[in-house]
Amino acid sequence: MRGHLLRRLPSALLVLAAASVLAFGILRLVPGDPAAVLAGPDAGPEVQAAIRDRLGLDEPLPAQYLHWIGGLLTGDLGPSYVIGGETADLIADGLGATVELTLGALLFAVLIGGTLGVLGATARRPWIRGAVRSVTTAALAVPPYVSGVLLVLLFAVLLGVLPAGGRIPLLTAPDLGVQYLLLPALCLALPSAAVLGRYLEDSLRRALAEDHVRTATAAGIAPRRILWRHALPHALPPVVTLLGIQTGHLLGGAVLVEAIFAWPGLGQLAEQALVRRDYPVVQDLLLLLVAVFVLVQLLSDLVHAWLDPRIRWE
């Protein structure tokens, strides 16, 4: 395994190095720079020049690149140019918020999708099955920027029971934090809940049609026990696989929901950093994404090699 890891490591490092050059280079090719943003529309060229000098933007590009990479290698991501604060803190805070939102949405997706799936597959009355189908269709069809506004109107404006936006970290004040989390998590979860619900419904129907379920029914086992002990365990594995894919979708979809609910996650941070040309923040975020991808690939390679010895000997 160690040999396999050593064979894979150089290509992973090469990908990271290439990504760092691309992230650095692309940003420099985009018009506008942090000094222009900081100087503002009323400042003159001398102000912009002084800011460029302070930020080190007058240095040759290779020197700027090496300065950035040198910092990264020593664990110092440096200060943000425009947003303010330390880049590492900004990314850590944003990541925490996005993960919190995604996990909340995942929980909702499982609860709602699971309920709808079971109802759709087991309800005897056609109208219940029709209602489940209508709900999943609506949840899939309505985009988050519409469902988000509707949720705010209902729960924040009309009922006044939940805040319209913002965030209090769950770990800081769990009772308040969960109230801030409910609406964005529900908004983000709805499309995934619909997908999970439909998939579970189909999978459960197949499981309920299996011979062993028929035997269990004939043996007089209670319907509830048949569902929980015999049908659901057979129906769940493909749904769990889908759940993994949906988690990725939730992370991606969080960007839009963050904007609607003023949720200060990674999406908001990336948008702010890009618009304001905050080079260190954008570069570090891009490299972080690539690093996560490379790490997952590396782990996947290792797991494959562990499962299939032939790969290790290639």
Binding site: A43, G85, D175, A209, T217, P264
Partner: protein
């Protein structure tokens, strides 16, 4: 196709479903009622006094952009916290007369080249250190540093010497007389010299203001608490202030409607009609305006080097329609940059260019043109795009076919400063709300020596210099201001369109919140009524 097995177990009966739903609702209800409410928490009530202002409570202010610590000494999109954490030397009243803050009195030397300031005693920073004349010396020198990107740097740079007379008296010596020194005093926050680098990094903001910073979470906002040793006795009334970042306009409005926040200056003009009808909210407008929208003209590109063509563009624009459709009716349609509060404002100047397509076409013809094709750059934000489209439509009516070039703000600002704008651009400028000379000296689009329009005129340079350094008052000062206005209108290298409204949306319970001329929020006397 998979068929439902005929005798499939109905594992979930209606009763079970109802039980589950009921249980879930109960749990959610218990969860939400058993703990603090986030909605009530954000509108923490004040404790009632017997009469008059009420002490206590936390005010939540919704903003659409976050505090940018590196722009602490410049006017940026979000400057509300400046006067909460810090103080200024003086503040203007409605008639642009300076009133005491940290400076209690002042006296000009006879030749206008020195100003003696008496400073307030008994003022302490949040860390307990007393305020002295050294802090004022540092504040002025700090703004002279171009890295601070302070728009009033030219005025700060006119201060060339300091004479300390004890800890609370200071003489500022000037290279030449300037008539906008009190604009600098309104603008310049007094910071603690020892922690200024920490301040611009957003780590520690140590001021003498009514509130001290407890928390800055990038992307989320600022938390402030009452400064117990504030120099104004009994002030502030509020225990704390939360400045909450809500970038999306709909979310910001929802936050106001639900009472989650009680004050905002960030509601876009086109959305103000929505909040104006909400019973618990009050919409009010400041006469200083919130900057101005203008059409910039690159005078180095033919045929825009001909001022007759530029004047034709100025006559072609329907400013009233822009005010109504783009700014939601809040603001002032105006051909000059001056808001109503400015001493340079005149009704004749405001209406100098009216919407007259016939006259515009005639001027174009007299300059030898019947059709022009010009690019127009604008920032690709909803309000800016609407402005550019309105201008595009108006110019098309006189035969000027405009191609819109939407771009992001960073690129637009880079082009603005590097004088690489296309023939036309539509943007906003500030600094017309104080002494008129400040606009010409501090706002780059109007700068006489070098500006985005590449407009150079010895006459304009001379007039601006005279307006800045003149010690004339009354009729003499008015005459100078009028000459600046006349030149701007005649040369039309910046075609002003409308003064943007500075609009406050506040809860009916909030009293006493005010803005200074640079949009610093003053909550010294603010309180939340019961």
């Amino acid at each position: 196709m998979t068929e439902l097995y005929p005798s499939a177990p109905s594992a979930v009966s209606r009763r079970t479903t109802l039980r589950a739903a009921g249980g879930g609702t109960l749990l959610l209800g218990l969860g939400l009622t058993g703990c603090r409410s986030a909605v009530e928490e954000s509108a923490a009530p004040a404790v009632a006094d017997a009469a008059g202002p009420r002490r206590g409570g936390t005010l939540t202010v919704a903003v659409n952009s976050d505090f940018t610590p590196s722009l602490l000494f410049a006017q940026s999109n979000q400057s509300l916290q400046q006067r909460l954490i810090y103080n200024t030397l003086t503040r203007y009243d409605d008639r642009l007369e300076p009133q005491p803050e940290l400076a209690t009195s002042w006296e000009y030397a006879a030749d206008g080249r020195a100003l003696t300031l008496k400073l307030r005693t008994g003022v302490v920073f949040h860390d307990g250190r007393p305020f002295t004349a050294d802090d004022v010396i540092f504040a002025v020198k700090n703004l002279q540093n171009p890295v601070r990107a302070a728009q009033l740097r030219a005025t700060a740079a006119a201060v060339t010497g300091f004479e300390k007379r004890g800890d609370h008296e200071l003489v500022l010596k000037l290279a030449h007389p300037v008539n906008n020194l009190f604009d600098l005093f309104e603008f310049m926050i007094i910071t603690d010299p020892g922690s200024v680098e920490e301040a611009v990094a957003g780590k520690r903001l140590n001021g003498t203001g009514p509130f001290s910073l407890t928390r800055w979470s990038p992307g989320t906002g600022l938390g402030l608490k009452r400064h117990e040793k504030y120099w104004q006795p009994g002030r502030p009334y509020l225990d704390g202030v939360e400045i909450r970042v809500v970038p999306q306009a709909d979310a910001l409005i929802s936050s106001l409607r639900t009472g989650q926040s009680q004050l905002s200056y960030s509601v876009p003009g086109r959305n103000l009609a929505t909040v104006a009808g909400v019973p618990g909210l009050v919409v009010s407008e400041y006469a200083t305006g919130g900057g101005a929208s203008y059409l910039g003209v690159n005078t180095s590109i033919a045929p825009l080097d001909d001022k007759t063509v530029r004047q034709a563009l100025a006559w072609a624009v329907d400013r009233e329609r822009i005010l109504k459709q783009v700014l939601g009716g809040y603001g002032l349609a105006s051909a000059t940059p001056w808001p109503k509060s400015s001493p340079a404002f005149t009704e004749a100047g405001r209406t100098h260019y009216r919407h007259d397509p016939g006259k515009a076409r005639e001027l174009l013809r007299s300059a030898g043109h019947t059709r022009l094709d010009l690019p127009l750059l604008h920032v690709n934000l909803p309000g800016e795009t609407a402005l550019a489209e309105a201008v595009q439509y108006d110019l098309q009516q006189i035969g000027v076919h405009v191609t819109l070039e939407p771009t992001d703000a960073a690129t637009a600002q880079k082009k603005l400063i590097s004088q690489s704008m296309p023939a036309l651009w539509a943007m906003g400028h500030s600094f017309a709300q104080v002494q008129p000379s400040t606009l010409a000296v501090s706002a780059y689009p109007f700068n006489a020596a070098k500006n985005t329009s590449r407009f150079r005129s010895e006459e304009y340079t001379r007039i601006v210099r005279e307006a800045w350094t003149s010690r004339a008052t009354g009729a003499g000062a008015n005459a100078l201001r009028q000459r600046v206005t006349d030149t701007l209108l005649d040369e039309a290298f910046i075609i002003d369109l409308a003064i943007r409204g500075s609009v406050q949306v506040a809860s009916r319970k909030l009293r006493g919140a005010t803005l200074n001329k640079f949009s610093y929020l003053n909550l010294d006397d603010a309180y939340l009524a019961g």
